[in-house]
Protein backbone atom coordinates (compact mmCIF):
# COMPACT_ATOMS: atom_id res chain seq x y z
CA UNK A 1 0.00 0.00 0.00
CA UNK A 2 1.14 3.50 -0.72
CA UNK A 3 1.60 5.78 2.26
CA UNK A 4 1.88 8.81 0.02
CA UNK A 5 1.10 9.40 -3.61
CA UNK A 6 1.67 12.70 -5.39
CA UNK A 7 0.46 13.16 -8.96
CA UNK A 8 1.47 16.18 -11.01
CA UNK A 9 1.64 18.24 -7.85
CA UNK A 10 2.27 21.88 -8.68
CA UNK A 11 2.51 25.05 -6.66
CA UNK A 12 2.90 28.59 -7.88
CA UNK A 13 3.05 31.20 -5.15
CA UNK A 14 1.34 34.57 -5.44
CA UNK A 15 4.67 36.21 -6.23
CA UNK A 16 4.93 34.01 -9.30
CA UNK A 17 7.54 31.60 -8.00
CA UNK A 18 6.91 28.08 -9.25
CA UNK A 19 7.98 26.03 -6.26
CA UNK A 20 6.69 22.72 -7.63
CA UNK A 21 6.35 21.99 -11.33
CA UNK A 22 4.22 18.88 -11.40
CA UNK A 23 5.98 16.27 -9.30
CA UNK A 24 5.05 12.60 -9.14
CA UNK A 25 6.10 10.63 -6.12
CA UNK A 26 5.11 7.40 -4.43
CA UNK A 27 6.21 6.27 -0.99
CA UNK A 28 5.42 2.75 0.12
CA UNK A 29 3.90 2.05 3.51
CA UNK A 30 6.59 1.20 6.05
CA UNK A 31 9.34 2.92 4.07
CA UNK A 32 12.00 5.19 5.51
CA UNK A 33 12.19 7.71 2.71
CA UNK A 34 14.48 10.67 2.12
CA UNK A 35 13.46 13.76 0.22
CA UNK A 36 16.62 15.64 -0.56
CA UNK A 37 17.35 18.89 -2.27
CA UNK A 38 19.00 22.26 -1.86
CA UNK A 39 17.35 25.27 -0.27
CA UNK A 40 14.44 26.45 -2.39
CA UNK A 41 14.17 23.13 -4.21
CA UNK A 42 10.53 22.63 -3.19
CA UNK A 43 10.86 20.12 -0.33
CA UNK A 44 9.14 22.21 2.30
CA UNK A 45 6.45 23.29 -0.15
CA UNK A 46 5.72 19.64 -0.96
CA UNK A 47 5.51 18.79 2.72
CA UNK A 48 3.43 21.90 3.37
CA UNK A 49 0.88 20.77 0.79
CA UNK A 50 0.71 17.23 2.15
CA UNK A 51 0.15 18.57 5.67
CA UNK A 52 -2.28 21.24 4.38
CA UNK A 53 -0.23 24.22 5.50
CA UNK A 54 0.21 25.22 1.87
CA UNK A 55 -2.56 25.26 -0.72
CA UNK A 56 -1.65 23.40 -3.90
CA UNK A 57 -2.15 24.98 -7.29
CA UNK A 58 -2.95 21.67 -8.99
CA UNK A 59 -2.34 17.96 -8.73
CA UNK A 60 -3.39 15.12 -6.49
CA UNK A 61 -2.22 14.15 -3.01
CA UNK A 62 -3.26 10.88 -1.43
CA UNK A 63 -2.30 9.74 2.05
CA UNK A 64 -2.91 6.03 2.54
CA UNK A 65 -5.41 6.28 -0.31
CA UNK A 66 -7.25 9.29 1.12
CA UNK A 67 -7.37 12.19 -1.31
CA UNK A 68 -6.81 15.46 0.56
CA UNK A 69 -9.39 17.15 -1.66
CA UNK A 70 -12.11 14.73 -0.65
CA UNK A 71 -11.07 13.24 2.71
CA UNK A 72 -8.88 15.89 4.25
CA UNK A 73 -9.70 15.14 7.88
CA UNK A 74 -8.97 11.41 7.50
CA UNK A 75 -5.79 12.11 5.54
CA UNK A 76 -4.62 14.55 8.22
CA UNK A 77 -5.29 12.05 10.98
CA UNK A 78 -2.80 9.66 9.31
CA UNK A 79 0.03 12.21 9.35
CA UNK A 80 2.37 13.42 12.06
CA UNK A 81 4.58 16.30 11.14
CA UNK A 82 7.81 17.63 12.58
CA UNK A 83 8.37 21.00 10.94
CA UNK A 84 11.63 22.70 10.16
CA UNK A 85 11.04 25.61 12.53
CA UNK A 86 9.99 25.36 16.16
CA UNK A 87 6.25 25.92 16.15
CA UNK A 88 4.89 25.32 19.61
CA UNK A 89 3.79 27.87 22.16
CA UNK A 90 7.02 28.70 23.97
CA UNK A 91 5.11 29.68 27.11
CA UNK A 92 3.36 26.36 27.54
CA UNK A 93 4.86 23.44 29.40
CA UNK A 94 6.17 20.37 27.63
CA UNK A 95 3.37 18.21 28.99
CA UNK A 96 0.67 20.71 28.02
CA UNK A 97 1.99 20.91 24.47
CA UNK A 98 1.92 17.18 23.82
CA UNK A 99 -1.36 16.51 25.63
CA UNK A 100 -3.11 19.34 23.79
CA UNK A 101 -1.74 18.13 20.49
CA UNK A 102 -3.26 14.72 21.13
CA UNK A 103 -6.54 16.45 21.92
CA UNK A 104 -6.53 18.21 18.56
CA UNK A 105 -6.40 14.74 17.01
CA UNK A 106 -9.31 13.52 19.10
CA UNK A 107 -7.33 11.54 21.67
CA UNK A 108 -9.03 11.55 25.07
CA UNK A 109 -7.11 13.38 27.76
CA UNK A 110 -6.42 10.38 30.00
CA UNK A 111 -5.04 8.42 27.03
CA UNK A 112 -3.01 11.45 25.96
CA UNK A 113 -1.40 11.66 29.40
CA UNK A 114 -0.40 8.00 29.25
CA UNK A 115 1.10 8.42 25.79
CA UNK A 116 2.84 11.61 26.84
CA UNK A 117 4.67 9.70 29.54
CA UNK A 118 5.74 7.02 27.06
CA UNK A 119 7.03 9.38 24.37
CA UNK A 120 8.53 11.97 26.68
CA UNK A 121 10.44 9.22 28.46
CA UNK A 122 11.60 7.71 25.19
CA UNK A 123 12.82 11.11 24.06
CA UNK A 124 14.41 11.97 27.41
CA UNK A 125 12.02 14.84 28.14
CA UNK A 126 9.97 13.39 30.98
CA UNK A 127 12.05 15.12 33.64
CA UNK A 128 11.36 18.43 31.92
CA UNK A 129 7.62 17.88 31.47
CA UNK A 130 6.68 20.80 33.71
CA UNK A 131 9.22 23.16 32.14
CA UNK A 132 8.07 25.81 29.70
CA UNK A 133 9.11 25.09 26.15
CA UNK A 134 11.20 28.23 25.90
CA UNK A 135 13.48 26.97 28.67
CA UNK A 136 14.48 23.89 26.64
CA UNK A 137 17.70 23.58 24.68
CA UNK A 138 17.62 23.42 20.89
CA UNK A 139 17.96 19.64 20.90
CA UNK A 140 15.18 19.26 23.46
CA UNK A 141 12.89 21.42 21.37
CA UNK A 142 13.52 19.18 18.38
CA UNK A 143 12.76 16.10 20.45
CA UNK A 144 9.64 17.74 21.81
CA UNK A 145 8.40 18.30 18.26
CA UNK A 146 8.94 14.61 17.53
CA UNK A 147 7.09 13.59 20.69
CA UNK A 148 4.26 15.94 19.80
CA UNK A 149 4.01 14.52 16.28
CA UNK A 150 3.75 10.98 17.63
CA UNK A 151 1.01 11.61 20.17
CA UNK A 152 -1.77 10.46 17.83
CA UNK A 153 0.39 7.55 16.65
CA UNK A 154 0.40 8.53 12.98
CA UNK A 155 0.95 5.99 10.25
CA UNK A 156 3.05 8.49 8.34
CA UNK A 157 5.61 10.67 10.08
CA UNK A 158 7.05 13.55 8.08
CA UNK A 159 10.19 15.22 9.40
CA UNK A 160 11.43 18.40 7.80
CA UNK A 161 15.09 18.83 8.76
CA UNK A 162 14.54 17.30 12.20
CA UNK A 163 18.13 17.42 13.38
CA UNK A 164 19.05 20.87 12.11
CA UNK A 165 21.19 22.62 14.69
CA UNK A 166 21.46 19.75 17.17
CA UNK A 167 24.72 18.25 18.32
CA UNK A 168 26.02 14.90 17.13
CA UNK A 169 25.09 13.00 20.26
CA UNK A 170 21.48 14.17 20.19
CA UNK A 171 21.34 13.55 16.44
CA UNK A 172 22.51 9.97 16.88
CA UNK A 173 19.98 9.31 19.63
CA UNK A 174 17.23 10.77 17.45
CA UNK A 175 18.32 8.48 14.61
CA UNK A 176 18.04 5.48 16.91
CA UNK A 177 14.58 6.55 17.96
CA UNK A 178 13.42 7.08 14.38
CA UNK A 179 14.79 3.68 13.36
CA UNK A 180 12.85 2.14 16.22
CA UNK A 181 9.48 3.68 15.32
CA UNK A 182 10.06 2.86 11.65
CA UNK A 183 10.76 -0.70 12.73
CA UNK A 184 7.41 -0.68 14.51
CA UNK A 185 5.69 0.11 11.21
CA UNK A 186 5.53 3.90 10.97
CA UNK A 187 6.31 5.19 7.51
CA UNK A 188 8.84 8.00 7.71
CA UNK A 189 9.59 10.70 5.18
CA UNK A 190 12.61 12.79 6.00
CA UNK A 191 14.06 15.91 4.51
CA UNK A 192 17.50 16.83 5.66
CA UNK A 193 20.55 18.85 4.88
CA UNK A 194 22.68 16.30 6.69
CA UNK A 195 22.94 13.95 3.77
CA UNK A 196 24.77 11.46 5.93
CA UNK A 197 21.52 11.27 7.87
CA UNK A 198 19.59 10.13 4.82
CA UNK A 199 22.32 7.67 3.91
CA UNK A 200 22.23 6.19 7.40
CA UNK A 201 18.49 6.04 7.86
CA UNK A 202 16.65 5.84 4.59
CA UNK A 203 15.95 2.95 2.24
CA UNK A 204 14.64 5.03 -0.63
CA UNK A 205 15.33 8.52 -1.81
CA UNK A 206 14.01 11.22 -4.10
CA UNK A 207 16.08 14.22 -5.01
CA UNK A 208 14.21 17.38 -5.80
CA UNK A 209 15.64 20.44 -7.45
CA UNK A 210 14.04 23.42 -9.10
CA UNK A 211 10.58 22.11 -8.29
CA UNK A 212 11.11 18.77 -10.07
CA UNK A 213 12.09 15.29 -8.95
CA UNK A 214 15.43 14.60 -10.59
CA UNK A 215 16.15 11.21 -9.02
CA UNK A 216 14.00 8.53 -7.41
CA UNK A 217 15.55 5.24 -6.47
CA UNK A 218 16.59 3.01 -3.61
CA UNK A 219 19.41 4.45 -1.50
CA UNK A 220 21.58 1.46 -2.44
CA UNK A 221 21.08 2.05 -6.17
CA UNK A 222 21.70 5.73 -5.80
CA UNK A 223 24.95 5.11 -3.96
CA UNK A 224 26.03 2.60 -6.61
CA UNK A 225 25.84 5.36 -9.18
CA UNK A 226 28.70 7.16 -7.58
CA UNK A 227 31.87 7.14 -9.58
CA UNK A 228 34.51 7.97 -6.98
CA UNK A 229 34.99 8.04 -3.26
CA UNK A 230 37.72 9.67 -1.17
CA UNK A 231 39.08 7.90 1.91
CA UNK A 232 41.05 9.64 4.62
CA UNK A 233 43.80 7.45 6.12
CA UNK A 234 45.41 8.43 9.40
CA UNK A 235 49.07 7.42 9.24
CA UNK A 236 50.90 6.15 12.28
CA UNK A 237 54.17 7.91 11.35
CA UNK A 238 54.56 11.37 9.94
CA UNK A 239 55.44 11.70 6.26
CA UNK A 240 56.71 14.62 4.26
CA UNK A 241 56.07 13.15 0.80
CA UNK A 242 53.03 11.45 -0.72
CA UNK A 243 53.54 7.67 -0.86
CA UNK A 244 53.62 6.15 -4.32
CA UNK A 245 50.25 4.51 -5.08
CA UNK A 246 50.00 2.95 -8.54
CA UNK A 247 46.61 3.57 -10.14
CA UNK A 248 45.32 5.88 -7.39
CA UNK A 249 45.19 9.59 -6.89
CA UNK A 250 46.56 10.49 -3.44
CA UNK A 251 47.54 13.61 -1.51
CA UNK A 252 48.70 14.57 1.99
CA UNK A 253 46.33 16.77 3.94
CA UNK A 254 48.98 17.01 6.67
CA UNK A 255 51.97 14.91 7.67
CA UNK A 256 49.76 12.25 9.30
CA UNK A 257 46.77 12.34 6.94
CA UNK A 258 46.68 10.75 3.52
CA UNK A 259 43.70 11.16 1.19
CA UNK A 260 43.18 8.51 -1.48
CA UNK A 261 40.56 8.63 -4.23
CA UNK A 262 39.09 5.34 -5.42
CA UNK A 263 37.13 4.90 -8.62
CA UNK A 264 34.39 2.31 -9.04
CA UNK A 265 35.89 -1.15 -9.26
CA UNK A 266 39.04 -0.27 -7.36
CA UNK A 267 39.61 -2.01 -4.06
CA UNK A 268 40.90 -0.64 -0.80
CA UNK A 269 42.94 -3.84 -0.47
CA UNK A 270 45.13 -2.61 -3.32
CA UNK A 271 45.77 0.62 -1.43
CA UNK A 272 46.61 -1.18 1.80
CA UNK A 273 48.85 -3.64 -0.02
CA UNK A 274 50.89 -0.88 -1.65
CA UNK A 275 51.16 1.12 1.59
CA UNK A 276 52.11 -1.99 3.52
CA UNK A 277 54.82 -2.78 0.99
CA UNK A 278 56.29 0.66 1.69
CA UNK A 279 56.19 0.05 5.44
CA UNK A 280 53.43 2.58 6.02
CA UNK A 281 51.02 1.73 8.83
CA UNK A 282 47.42 2.96 8.99
CA UNK A 283 45.85 3.78 12.37
CA UNK A 284 42.33 4.50 11.19
CA UNK A 285 40.25 5.43 8.17
CA UNK A 286 37.09 7.34 7.24
CA UNK A 287 35.21 8.72 4.23
CA UNK A 288 36.18 12.24 3.37
CA UNK A 289 33.13 13.52 1.57
CA UNK A 290 29.57 12.52 2.01
CA UNK A 291 28.80 10.27 -0.91
CA UNK A 292 25.26 11.47 -1.32
CA UNK A 293 26.49 15.01 -1.41
CA UNK A 294 28.77 14.06 -4.24
CA UNK A 295 25.91 12.40 -6.06
CA UNK A 296 23.70 15.37 -5.50
CA UNK A 297 26.22 17.78 -6.92
CA UNK A 298 26.73 15.50 -9.91
CA UNK A 299 23.00 15.20 -10.59
CA UNK A 300 22.37 18.90 -10.30
CA UNK A 301 25.42 19.70 -12.43
CA UNK A 302 24.43 17.29 -15.18
CA UNK A 303 20.90 18.64 -15.14
CA UNK A 304 22.20 22.17 -15.35
CA UNK A 305 24.39 21.31 -18.31
CA UNK A 306 21.44 19.61 -20.00
CA UNK A 307 19.33 22.70 -19.47
CA UNK A 308 16.47 20.59 -18.11
CA UNK A 309 14.28 23.23 -16.58
CA UNK A 310 14.41 26.65 -15.06
CA UNK A 311 15.78 27.30 -11.62
CA UNK A 312 13.56 28.40 -8.81
CA UNK A 313 14.35 31.86 -7.52
Amino acid sequence: MLALKLRQLAKTYKNGIKALKGIDLEVESGDFFALLGPNGAGKTTAIGIVTSLVTKTSGVVEVFGHDIDRELEIAKSCIGVVPQEVNFNQFETVLTIVVNEAGFYGIARHVAKQRAEVYLKQLQLWDRRHSTARSLSGGMKRRLMIARALMHQPELLILDEPTAGVDIEVRRSMWEFLRMINGEGTTIILTTHYLEEAENLCRNVAIIDGGRIIERDSMANVLRKLQTEVFVLNLRDARTAVPRLEGFSASLADDHTLEVELSRGQSLNQVFAQLSAQGIEIDSMRNKVNRLEELFVRLVDSRGRGGAGEAVA
Partner: protein
Protein backbone atom coordinates in the same frame (compact mmCIF):
# COMPACT_ATOMS: atom_id res chain seq x y z
CA UNK B 1 -8.54 3.86 7.94
CA UNK B 2 -11.68 5.91 7.54
CA UNK B 3 -13.14 7.16 10.79
CA UNK B 4 -16.78 6.30 11.38
CA UNK B 5 -19.07 9.34 11.68
CA UNK B 6 -19.60 8.71 15.41
CA UNK B 7 -15.86 8.37 15.95
CA UNK B 8 -15.22 11.53 13.99
CA UNK B 9 -17.86 13.44 15.97
CA UNK B 10 -16.20 12.33 19.20
CA UNK B 11 -12.77 13.29 17.89
CA UNK B 12 -14.10 16.71 16.93
CA UNK B 13 -15.67 17.14 20.34
CA UNK B 14 -12.38 16.32 22.05
CA UNK B 15 -10.55 18.69 19.68
CA UNK B 16 -13.03 21.44 20.43
CA UNK B 17 -12.71 20.86 24.19
CA UNK B 18 -8.95 21.01 23.85
CA UNK B 19 -9.07 24.40 22.16
CA UNK B 20 -11.25 25.66 25.01
CA UNK B 21 -8.99 24.11 27.65
CA UNK B 22 -5.98 25.73 26.02
CA UNK B 23 -7.70 29.11 25.90
CA UNK B 24 -8.77 28.78 29.53
CA UNK B 25 -5.22 27.84 30.46
CA UNK B 26 -3.93 30.92 28.68
CA UNK B 27 -6.42 33.22 30.42
CA UNK B 28 -5.47 31.85 33.82
CA UNK B 29 -1.73 31.67 33.06
CA UNK B 30 -1.58 35.37 32.22
CA UNK B 31 -4.14 36.45 34.81
CA UNK B 32 -2.18 39.63 35.42
CA UNK B 33 -3.00 40.68 31.87
CA UNK B 34 -6.46 39.17 31.59
CA UNK B 35 -8.34 39.18 34.88
CA UNK B 36 -6.66 41.79 37.04
CA UNK B 37 -6.67 44.90 34.82
CA UNK B 38 -10.46 44.94 34.32
CA UNK B 39 -10.93 44.76 38.08
CA UNK B 40 -8.63 47.74 38.58
CA UNK B 41 -10.06 49.75 35.69
CA UNK B 42 -13.66 49.13 36.65
CA UNK B 43 -12.93 50.10 40.25
CA UNK B 44 -11.54 53.40 38.98
CA UNK B 45 -14.60 53.92 36.77
CA UNK B 46 -16.92 53.29 39.71
CA UNK B 47 -14.97 55.59 42.00
CA UNK B 48 -14.62 58.45 39.53
CA UNK B 49 -17.79 58.28 37.44
CA UNK B 50 -19.98 56.63 40.00
CA UNK B 51 -19.09 58.07 43.37
CA UNK B 52 -17.48 61.41 42.56
CA UNK B 53 -19.22 62.62 39.40
CA UNK B 54 -22.28 60.41 39.69
CA UNK B 55 -23.51 62.18 42.84
CA UNK B 56 -23.73 65.42 40.90
CA UNK B 57 -25.43 63.78 37.90
CA UNK B 58 -28.41 62.54 39.88
CA UNK B 59 -30.73 60.00 38.29
CA UNK B 60 -30.61 58.62 34.77
CA UNK B 61 -33.52 56.64 33.38
CA UNK B 62 -35.03 56.52 36.83
CA UNK B 63 -31.96 55.00 38.46
CA UNK B 64 -28.95 56.21 40.43
CA UNK B 65 -26.14 57.03 38.04
CA UNK B 66 -23.96 54.36 39.64
CA UNK B 67 -26.69 51.79 39.13
CA UNK B 68 -27.22 52.98 35.58
CA UNK B 69 -23.61 52.71 34.50
CA UNK B 70 -22.84 49.40 36.23
CA UNK B 71 -24.38 47.16 33.50
CA UNK B 72 -22.78 49.34 30.85
CA UNK B 73 -19.35 49.03 32.44
CA UNK B 74 -19.75 45.27 32.76
CA UNK B 75 -20.77 45.02 29.12
CA UNK B 76 -17.94 47.31 28.01
CA UNK B 77 -15.48 45.05 29.77
CA UNK B 78 -17.04 41.95 28.26
CA UNK B 79 -16.76 43.47 24.77
CA UNK B 80 -13.15 44.56 25.17
CA UNK B 81 -12.00 41.32 26.71
CA UNK B 82 -13.76 38.89 24.40
CA UNK B 83 -12.32 40.81 21.48
CA UNK B 84 -8.89 41.19 23.03
CA UNK B 85 -8.65 37.54 24.00
CA UNK B 86 -9.15 36.17 20.53
CA UNK B 87 -7.21 38.80 18.65
CA UNK B 88 -4.15 38.34 20.83
CA UNK B 89 -4.42 34.57 21.19
CA UNK B 90 -5.02 33.88 17.50
CA UNK B 91 -2.55 36.44 16.21
CA UNK B 92 0.00 35.24 18.76
CA UNK B 93 -0.50 31.68 17.51
CA UNK B 94 -0.14 32.87 13.93
CA UNK B 95 2.93 34.95 14.70
CA UNK B 96 4.54 32.23 16.85
CA UNK B 97 3.56 29.60 14.27
CA UNK B 98 1.88 27.35 16.82
CA UNK B 99 -1.35 27.89 14.91
CA UNK B 100 0.12 25.19 12.67
CA UNK B 101 -0.66 22.71 15.45
CA UNK B 102 -4.32 23.29 14.69
CA UNK B 103 -4.02 23.67 10.94
CA UNK B 104 -2.41 20.26 10.47
CA UNK B 105 -4.87 18.58 12.85
CA UNK B 106 -8.00 16.87 11.53
CA UNK B 107 -10.34 19.60 12.71
CA UNK B 108 -12.78 21.40 10.41
CA UNK B 109 -12.27 25.13 10.11
CA UNK B 110 -15.65 25.98 11.58
CA UNK B 111 -14.72 24.10 14.73
CA UNK B 112 -11.46 26.02 15.09
CA UNK B 113 -13.38 29.29 14.70
CA UNK B 114 -15.98 28.15 17.23
CA UNK B 115 -13.30 27.06 19.70
CA UNK B 116 -11.49 30.38 19.58
CA UNK B 117 -14.77 32.35 19.68
CA UNK B 118 -15.97 30.50 22.75
CA UNK B 119 -12.55 31.02 24.30
CA UNK B 120 -13.24 34.74 23.91
CA UNK B 121 -16.72 34.28 25.36
CA UNK B 122 -15.18 32.44 28.29
CA UNK B 123 -12.85 35.34 29.05
CA UNK B 124 -15.71 37.80 28.58
CA UNK B 125 -17.74 35.92 31.17
CA UNK B 126 -14.84 35.51 33.58
CA UNK B 127 -13.99 39.20 33.41
CA UNK B 128 -17.66 40.17 33.43
CA UNK B 129 -18.07 38.23 36.66
CA UNK B 130 -15.08 40.01 38.18
CA UNK B 131 -16.46 43.44 37.24
CA UNK B 132 -19.94 42.49 38.48
CA UNK B 133 -18.43 41.58 41.85
CA UNK B 134 -16.54 44.89 41.91
CA UNK B 135 -19.73 46.79 41.06
CA UNK B 136 -21.51 45.23 44.03
CA UNK B 137 -19.12 47.08 46.33
CA UNK B 138 -20.48 50.34 44.93
CA UNK B 139 -24.13 49.73 44.11
CA UNK B 140 -26.99 47.28 44.25
CA UNK B 141 -27.80 45.33 41.10
CA UNK B 142 -31.06 43.50 40.67
CA UNK B 143 -31.42 40.47 38.43
CA UNK B 144 -34.75 41.18 36.81
CA UNK B 145 -34.20 38.98 33.77
CA UNK B 146 -31.21 36.67 34.37
CA UNK B 147 -31.70 34.64 31.16
CA UNK B 148 -31.75 37.85 29.18
CA UNK B 149 -28.60 39.07 30.92
CA UNK B 150 -26.70 35.88 30.15
CA UNK B 151 -28.03 35.74 26.59
CA UNK B 152 -27.05 39.33 25.85
CA UNK B 153 -23.61 38.83 27.36
CA UNK B 154 -23.14 35.60 25.42
CA UNK B 155 -24.19 37.00 22.06
CA UNK B 156 -22.20 40.19 22.51
CA UNK B 157 -19.02 38.43 23.57
CA UNK B 158 -19.46 35.90 20.76
CA UNK B 159 -19.79 38.67 18.16
CA UNK B 160 -16.73 40.55 19.41
CA UNK B 161 -14.68 37.42 19.91
CA UNK B 162 -15.34 36.69 16.24
CA UNK B 163 -14.42 40.28 15.44
CA UNK B 164 -11.09 39.65 17.15
CA UNK B 165 -10.68 36.46 15.17
CA UNK B 166 -11.25 38.22 11.85
CA UNK B 167 -8.92 41.04 12.86
CA UNK B 168 -6.20 38.53 13.79
CA UNK B 169 -6.59 36.68 10.50
CA UNK B 170 -6.27 39.82 8.44
CA UNK B 171 -3.51 41.44 10.52
CA UNK B 172 0.04 41.21 9.24
CA UNK B 173 1.71 42.77 12.27
CA UNK B 174 1.03 43.80 15.86
CA UNK B 175 0.09 47.35 14.82
CA UNK B 176 -2.79 46.01 12.83
CA UNK B 177 -4.32 44.22 15.78
CA UNK B 178 -4.51 47.46 17.73
CA UNK B 179 -6.04 49.64 15.02
CA UNK B 180 -9.58 48.29 15.22
CA UNK B 181 -9.86 48.36 19.03
CA UNK B 182 -8.38 51.84 19.18
CA UNK B 183 -10.13 53.57 16.35
CA UNK B 184 -13.41 51.66 16.01
CA UNK B 185 -14.22 49.54 19.03
CA UNK B 186 -13.43 51.98 21.83
CA UNK B 187 -15.27 54.96 20.27
CA UNK B 188 -18.31 52.82 19.49
CA UNK B 189 -18.31 51.45 23.03
CA UNK B 190 -18.04 54.87 24.67
CA UNK B 191 -20.75 56.20 22.35
CA UNK B 192 -22.93 53.13 22.84
CA UNK B 193 -24.75 54.29 25.92
CA UNK B 194 -22.39 52.90 28.53
CA UNK B 195 -22.15 56.17 30.48
CA UNK B 196 -25.36 57.87 29.43
CA UNK B 197 -28.83 57.28 28.12
CA UNK B 198 -29.14 58.25 24.48
CA UNK B 199 -32.37 60.04 25.44
CA UNK B 200 -30.06 62.73 26.84
CA UNK B 201 -28.64 63.41 23.36
CA UNK B 202 -29.79 66.01 20.82
CA UNK B 203 -31.89 64.72 17.89
CA UNK B 204 -29.13 64.14 15.35
CA UNK B 205 -26.91 62.35 17.87
CA UNK B 206 -29.86 60.27 19.04
CA UNK B 207 -30.51 59.17 15.46
CA UNK B 208 -26.82 58.51 14.80
CA UNK B 209 -26.59 56.37 17.95
CA UNK B 210 -29.07 53.93 16.47
CA UNK B 211 -26.45 53.00 13.87
CA UNK B 212 -24.15 51.86 16.65
CA UNK B 213 -24.59 48.10 17.27
CA UNK B 214 -23.09 48.35 20.74
CA UNK B 215 -26.02 50.51 21.81
CA UNK B 216 -28.36 47.54 21.32
CA UNK B 217 -26.08 45.19 23.23
CA UNK B 218 -25.65 47.52 26.20
CA UNK B 219 -29.35 48.35 26.26
CA UNK B 220 -30.47 44.74 26.23
CA UNK B 221 -27.98 43.89 28.96
CA UNK B 222 -29.05 46.85 31.07
CA UNK B 223 -32.68 45.89 30.62
CA UNK B 224 -31.90 42.54 32.21
CA UNK B 225 -30.69 44.30 35.37
CA UNK B 226 -32.81 47.42 35.57
CA UNK B 227 -35.85 46.81 33.39
CA UNK B 228 -35.21 49.94 31.32
CA UNK B 229 -33.60 50.22 27.90
CA UNK B 230 -32.86 52.84 25.25
CA UNK B 231 -34.03 50.54 22.45
CA UNK B 232 -36.45 47.66 22.01
CA UNK B 233 -35.12 44.43 23.48
CA UNK B 234 -36.48 42.26 20.64
CA UNK B 235 -34.78 44.45 18.07
CA UNK B 236 -31.59 44.33 20.11
CA UNK B 237 -31.60 40.52 20.15
CA UNK B 238 -32.41 40.35 16.45
CA UNK B 239 -29.38 42.54 15.74
CA UNK B 240 -27.13 40.52 18.05
CA UNK B 241 -28.16 37.18 16.55
CA UNK B 242 -27.72 38.54 13.02
CA UNK B 243 -24.30 39.92 13.89
CA UNK B 244 -23.28 36.60 15.46
CA UNK B 245 -24.33 34.62 12.39
CA UNK B 246 -22.71 37.12 10.03
CA UNK B 247 -19.41 37.28 11.90
CA UNK B 248 -19.22 33.51 12.29
CA UNK B 249 -19.84 33.02 8.57
CA UNK B 250 -17.22 35.61 7.69
CA UNK B 251 -14.63 34.01 9.98
CA UNK B 252 -15.26 30.54 8.53
CA UNK B 253 -15.05 31.83 4.95
CA UNK B 254 -11.73 33.51 5.73
CA UNK B 255 -10.45 30.31 7.36
CA UNK B 256 -11.55 28.20 4.39
CA UNK B 257 -9.70 30.54 2.09
CA UNK B 258 -6.69 30.48 4.38
CA UNK B 259 -6.48 34.26 4.40
CA UNK B 260 -3.34 35.29 6.24
CA UNK B 261 -2.59 31.79 7.45
CA UNK B 262 -1.94 29.56 4.42
CA UNK B 263 0.32 30.24 1.45
Amino acid sequence: MSAAPAGRARARWIGFQTILIREFGRIVRIWGQTLLPPAVTSTLYFVIFGSLIGRRVGQVGGHDYMQFIAPGLIMMTVIQNSYGNVVSSFFGAKFGKHLEELLVAPLPNWLIVLGYALGGVLRGFMVGTVVTIVSLFFTRLGLLHPVLIVSAAFLTSFVFALGGFVNAMLAKNFDQISWFPTFILTPLTYLGGVFYSIQMLPGWALDASHANPILYMVSAFRYGFLGTADVGVRLAFAIMVSAAVGMFSLAVVLMNRGVGIRD
